[in-house]
Structures are given as structure tokens and as C-alpha cells.
Symmetry: C2
Subunit: 257 residues, 2 copies
């Protein structure tokens, strides 16, 4: 058996999230269907770096699987793409050591959140950019983001619907840029809890609207009380941008951002 690492992009609009489900259409379900066909098997498992919610998109989602087939490395993407639906695309595949693990070996992840504050909605962006026709205070949001940096217990800034017990994560960097009415928020951290980026966004937006003071964030974190944080921002604006497996690469990326 050899282990293959595939880098996958997907438009999350028409998926009920990443994770395999008995009935609903999922990203993992489609990949494993393709793997089943290629391997002529009844079931062929895959392991991703993590899950995304319904409507959330993937730009570079790492997924690994094992195979007894000796397909040349560069033909794996062609084989998978010939079967996958057109809202998914394997960007590349490579053979990796069998000890490699798409989830456990991750040293960092980047999520991107896109928002548009134009008065008029853009029908072409409705599934890809959260439309919030409000005036937002960039400096208040940047200040709010500063309070999130570092290592904290993020219980109050993630969904209680999870089996994960250790809720300590490290946020290395939050980068906010604006071009006209289009805003891009980049979150780089050691890892993120269930719905954490969407709740971070909802809370940063509260600061941008003046509904909370940026410094309130310290108290929200310490409280470990989900009800004190902001609402969960819509999934359509969220993208899993990339997963880092090498600390050097992660540090260099953060430095250059």
C-alpha cells in the first residue's frame, strides 16, 4: 500500500458539509465514491485535515488515502477528476510516507472569510461572499483581532456542539484587508474548533459595528461563555485556504503576510 496526499478544492454551496453522511451530499462522500470506483471496492476510506460545515468552501483541502494501485503520481488527479462532479477539483496528488497523516501532522491552518458591505447585493456573489450592507470600523475590527492573538481557551468562541474537550488553540495572525466594499479576513492558527472562525467573525463584526468594545474580547475569552460572543457568521463567506505541515513554511508565510 502506498499513501497518496490529494489537494482538493470545492465549492461548498451544494454540499451538506465535508463529512460523509448517510444520505446528504458531502465532499468526503464524493471523494470516496471516486475512490470506490477506481479501486473497484465497496468502500474506500479517506482522511482529511478536518471538516467544513455546509456551504463552507475549500481552496486547498488536504486529503490522504492508501492504495495498492501503482498509478503514476501525476495521473491520480486526472483519474479522480474524471469521476468527481464539477463543483470539486483535485489540484494535485503526491505519494507521501505511510506515516504521514493529513489531520495529525498539521501544524497550522489558514481560513479566509469574505464579506461585502455594498448597499446592493451582488447576485453572483451570494454563495461566496457574506453580504452585510453596513458601515464597519476597520480600526475597531483590527483592534478586536489583536485580542484574539495568542494561546487561549476558545470555549466562548466556538460551538458547544462538539466532542472535543481540549479547547485551547493558538491564533498566530489575523489579517484584515479591504478593497472598495470587499473585505478579506485571514485567520492563521494552530487549529480551529467547530464553527470557531464563523464565531470569531461574528464577534469581530460586533466590534466593527460598535456593538462591543474591542477590549471586551478579553472578558469574552475568559468567561468561557458562548452566549457572550457574537453570532455565528454565515458559512457562505468562509474558505479553508490552506493547511501547513511544515513549521518553517508556516512561519515564513506568517512573516510575509
Amino acid at each position: 500500500m502506498q499513501r497518496v496526499l490529494a489537494i482538493l478544492s470545492y465549492d461548498g454551496t451544494n454540499f451538506h458539509g465535508y463529512q460523509r453522511q448517510p444520505v446528504s451530499r458531502s465532499v468526503q462522500g464524493e471523494i470516496e465514491k471516486a475512490l470506490r470506483i477506481i479501486h473497484k471496492a465497496e468502500f474506500w476510506p479517506s482522511t482529511s485535515s478536518g471538516r467544513t460545515d455546509a456551504g463552507v468552501h475549500g481552496l486547498n483541502q488536504p486529503v490522504h488515502f492508501d492504495t495498492p494501485l501503482s498509478i503514476p503520481e501525476d495521473r491520480w488527479a486526472v483519474a479522480l477528476n474524471s469521476i468527481l462532479p464539477n463543483d470539486m477539483h483535485v489540484k494535485s496528488c503526491q505519494y507521501v510516507p505511510s506515516a504521514f497523516h493529513a489531520r495529525y501532522d498539521a501544524v497550522g491552518k489558514e481560513y479566509v472569510y469574505r464579506m461585502n458591505t455594498a448597499v446592493q447585493p451582488d447576485v453572483f456573489k451570494r454563495n461566496y461572499v457574506y453580504h452585510l450592507p453596513k458601515n464597519l470600523d476597520l480600526s475597531a475590527m483590527s483592534e478586536a483581532a489583536e485580542y484574539l492573538l495568542g494561546t487561549h481557551n476558545f470555549t466562548s468562541l466556538s460551538s458547544p456542539k462538539t466532542d472535543v474537550i481540549d479547547k485551547v488553540r493558538t491564533i498566530f495572525r489575523v489579517n484584515i484587508t479591504r478593497y472598495e466594499n470587499e473585505w478579506t479576513f485571514r485567520f492563521i492558527g494552530s487549529g480551529f474548533l467547530y464553527q470557531m472562525v464563523r464565531i470569531l467573525m461574528g464577534t469581530i463584526i460586533q466590534a466593527g459595528l460598535g456593538d462591543i468594545k474591542p477590549s471586551d474580547i478579553s472578558q469574552i475569552i475568559v468567561s468561557m461563555d458562548r452566549t457572550l460572543a457574537g453570532p455565528t457568521a454565515p458559512g457562505c463567506g468562509l474558505y479553508l485556504a490552506q493547511v501547513f505541515y511544515e513549521r518553517d513554511h508556516l512561519e515564513k508565510y506568517i512573516e510575509e503576510l
Copy 2:
């Protein structure tokens, strides 16, 4: 009764074209459903500048309708948008003289066709940009476009499936721009026949691929034989960009392009 001119945008992906249909979802069907609700009537007709096919998008589609309601001009868009689905959006509404006609008064139209020639498909653009991973010759395509300019009988460059008898149209301008792998083709003409822009595109692409010589276009036009022209390019890349009702405005726009 007063006549209202609405300017509409729509993502054509999930519509079976513009025109009202008995069962399938159409842009006109959704507008007239909203008008029915607003007027508390069983049927309320509307007239557009023209139709678009399944999958074709609208950036600024003019639509007129008559109403006995005295709703302030700037509230019409709000009222319609509160009912319309989120893949449609009324950008503006204004009262116009009752002699105004969205179709008959048009003096010109602009269509935009978007194409991407990157090797890898982009899952986020699949419904919005035609993906053709080939090398295209820009100068051959520009030369081909030159042969289309002016007044011609476009029988060979439109679909035979139409009741329209007069197939003479004037193309004022074809503008081709490229930014990296993304191509934009703008067609400005007096009007366009059924599937004409998609067949013009299919024929220009043939010239870009070297499958025909640009000068062959003269012969294709003269032949009045649809089978000599190129294939019908996919609807997903096509946008009705704008409709002109004033000759001055049209001429100024062409000059500045």
C-alpha cells in the same frame, strides 16, 4: 396606469432561461410572481428587452410593466426585492412615459462573454466563465471579429430555431481583452438573434484555435448556412450586459470602449 422600467440582474445558473414557462423556473416567471403578489392579481404581465437562454446571466436587463399603484419610484425596487429569490435583484426602478417599450425602443445591446484558458478548472467559476484549456491566438480572434463588424444577414451565425424572419443585424463593435488566463469578449450591436452571440463566440474560438482562417468568416456570412459556422459556445459564459435606448449614449459608449 403608470409604466415602470426596472433594471434587473440575475444569475442564470438555476433558471431555464428568461422566458415564462408553464413548469420550469424562469426569470420572467419570478418577476411576474412578485408583480402578482404586489398587485393581488392572478396574472400581471411584464415585457423585457429580450430573452436569454438557460444558464445565461443578466447584468442589467430592462423590464417594463404597468401599474395602477402609486408607489414612490424608489420603493419599487425595495418592494420587488423583498419578494424575489436571491439569485435575482432589481437594481433600480423608474417611472417612464407609457409609450416607452423595453424591447421596441432599444437602439443597441451589449453582451459580454467570459472565458478562461487556464489548464486547471476553477470550481468557483464553473457557472460563470467558460473554461477552455487551450492556447488561443488573440490576433487571429481580433481579425475574425473585424469580419463580423457592420450590417449583415446573420442566418449562418444564429440558430435556425426561431420565428424571426429578418436576420439582418448590425454589429458596431467587438472588443477582446485578456488578463492572465481570463478573457472578456464584448459584443455591441443593434440587436442579436437567437443564440447569435454564442455562435459568434464559437466561430471566433475556431479562428483562435487555427481551425478556420479569420477571412473565412466573410464566406460563412455570405453562405447563409449555419453548418459552416462554429459550434454554439456554452451559455454559462454569457451575460446580457446592457441595453441602450438613446443613440447618443450608445455612440459615446462605443467611442470610449
